[in-house]
């Protein structure tokens, strides 16, 4: 084979290898970075995400200290429901399973579906805040004028660092009625 064409072949091979890197980085950006970010957030509590449903284990309640849990509620734009925690805050013992409720009312004249998204500060407390039952695990449907008491059951882990005395849990309520309708029609 002539020198020129082996050079051409090697050029083509190199170019294809670099193209392979390009494709790999594209795949990395779309399919690896989001799950990597989610995993990182779950492990470090980085963006205040509190993780999925927790299976409670039998453990002693630490009665020597209390942690104050504050509850906040925000409606995302275009979400007209009345949405508020039943109580502004509660003091709990680490290890103790507690239930609180959020009150929601749909004041419109049509059935709507909402998704509550939790977010928690301080971030480092997120990994110690376990939800055994949360209205945020599912979408909530309310028909026109209907009200509901939405339950949240949680346990603050006994290993929570001593310096954490207040945890602030915020729920943002989003209107997902349209998205669901769209998904169902596709």
């Amino acid at each position: 084979m002539s020198e020129a064409s082996t050079e051409q072949r090697s050029i083509a091979q190199q170019a294809l290898r670099l193209l392979g890197v390009v494709v790999a980085m594209f795949v990395f950006a779309i399919w690896v970075m989001p799950p990597l970010y989610d995993a990182f957030c779950e492990i470090t509590g980085l963006n205040g995400k509190t993780g999925g449903q927790y299976q409670a284990v039998d453990a002693a309640v630490d009665t020597s200290r209390q942690v104050r849990i504050q509850f906040l509620a925000t409606n995302n734009e275009g979400m007209p429901w009345q949405f508020a925690p039943q109580m502004a805050s509660i003091k709990v013992h680490p290890g103790e399973e507690v239930e609180v409720r959020y009150l929601a009312t749909n004041p419109t004249d049509r059935t709507m579906i909402a998704q509550a998204i939790p977010s928690l500060v301080p971030f480092k407390a997120a990994e110690y805040f376990h939800k055994t039952e949360c209205f945020c695990f599912n979408q909530q449907a309310l028909s026109a004028g209907e009200s509901a008491e939405l339950p949240l059951r949680f346990i603050v882990d006994q290993d929570i660092p001593k310096q954490v005395n207040t945890i602030t849990l915020s729920y943002t309520l989003f209107d997902v009625t349209a998205d669901l309708a769209l998904a169902q029609s596709q």
């Binding site: 906040l72 275009g78 004249d109 954490v164 009625t177 349209a178």
Partner: protein
């Protein structure tokens, strides 16, 4: 940069000035050598070029020395950052929510919450009247906090990303929809401190300022109880029967503050983006439909907010009355605050 009114803001200012002087020093050295060379080593002055072109020891020297300077800078910076992040043991908590294009402040555990809108007259912005001294940095309802108490700001947003920034407090925190962030300040002196939104959030990003009024503990207590009392008073006003002219006038003011940004002062909207109110099928249609749109927002366009949660019944009744009768709509009907309340509670 302002020195500000909190220990943190003073800290940040000092850090800024330290780094600044380091940078000036480095600049003076580097540029000094350059200017000297440009004068002393010009060909026109007869300079002959030397031939040296490498020196490992020099390279090591000017790698290690800058590295050492960086370590010196990093130590106080680390200390400051850790202090800024220490939000524990706050005495007052405020939920700050960014909206397009205003802020909402909620005093956690106190049942006081209100919106804070830019209060600069549009005529100043449009150069029709002279601009006041706090042009673009004034609001209708400032955030009031006590001095000498650790105040924690819980920051979130209801639509796009905003950012809450008050230079005098050295607090800047992004407001992310669906997520909560926290920061804090301990204000030492009473006063009025002004800031602005610091993340592009749409067309009126430059028109949603922040005003923080720091009061003595006693004055703050008085303000807080007055705020709670006025919420009760507003409830009473809802029962009142207003005249058409009262509703129209109030509605015009509410429209200017809350609707004109998108639907435009002349009610004509912006083609392709914001529908017109003039001649709109909603504003000239069934009253219930119009009330539903204003109170509950649009079901298919997230940019039309649910104002039922943001405005009082009096304001909603007024602005609907105004919209139905201004811009050539001339529907002749009106809405009373009590109708709005009944609509919200209905079914």
């Amino acid at each position: 940069m302002t020195q500000g009114v909190t220990p943190i803001s003073h800290n940040v200012y000092d850090l800024h000035m330290d780094i600044f002087w380091w940078c000036v020093g480095i600049g003076v050295v580097v540029f000094g050598v350059m200017f000297y060379t440009m004068i002393a080593h010009r060909k026109s002055k007869g300079a002959k070029a030397a031939n040296f072109h490498e020196s490992t020891s020099l390279e090591i020297l000017w790698t290690v020395v800058p590295f050492a300077i960086l370590i010196i800078m990093a130590i106080p910076a680390t200390k400051s950052l850790i202090e800024i992040y220490d939000t524990k043991e706050s005495e007052v908590d405020i939920l700050v929510t960014g909206y397009q294009w205003k802020w909402k402040y909620e005093y956690v555990g106190e049942d006081v919450s209100f919106f804070s809108n830019l209060s600069t007259d549009p005529n100043e912005i449009n150069n029709l009247v002279p601009k006041g001294p706090n042009y673009l940095l004034e609001v209708d309802e400032p955030l009031v906090i006590p001095i000498r108490k650790k105040v924690r700001f819980l920051v979130t947003a209801a639509d796009v990303i905003h950012s809450w920034w008050v230079p005098a407090l050295a607090v800047k925190r992004d407001a992310i929809p669906g997520f909560i962030n926290e920061s804090w300040a301990y204000v030492e002196e009473p006063g009025v401190y002004r800031g602005q939104c610091a993340e592009l959030c749409g067309k009126d990003h430059g028109f949603m300022p922040i005003v923080v009024e720091a009061l003595s503990e006693a004055d703050y207590a008085v303000w807080l109880s007055e705020k709670k009392a006025s919420a009760a008073k507003l409830k009473a006003l809802t029962e009142k029967e207003f005249t058409f002219d009262e509703l129209y006038a109030q509605g015009e003011a509410v429209y200017g503050k809350n609707c004109a940004a998108c639907h435009q002062p002349d009610g004509k909207g912006i083609s392709g983006t914001f529908p017109a109110i003039a001649g709109s099928s909603v504003a000239t249609g069934v009253l219930g439909g119009h009330m539903n749109m204003v109170i509950n927002g649009s079901s298919n366009n997230p940019m039309m907010s649910a104002f039922g949660a943001q405005l009082s019944e009096v304001d909603i009744a007024s602005v609907i009355t105004y919209q139905r009768n201004a811009f050539g709509n001339n529907m002749g009907d009106q809405v009373q605050p009590i109708d709005v309340l009944k609509f919200k509670q209905a079914k």
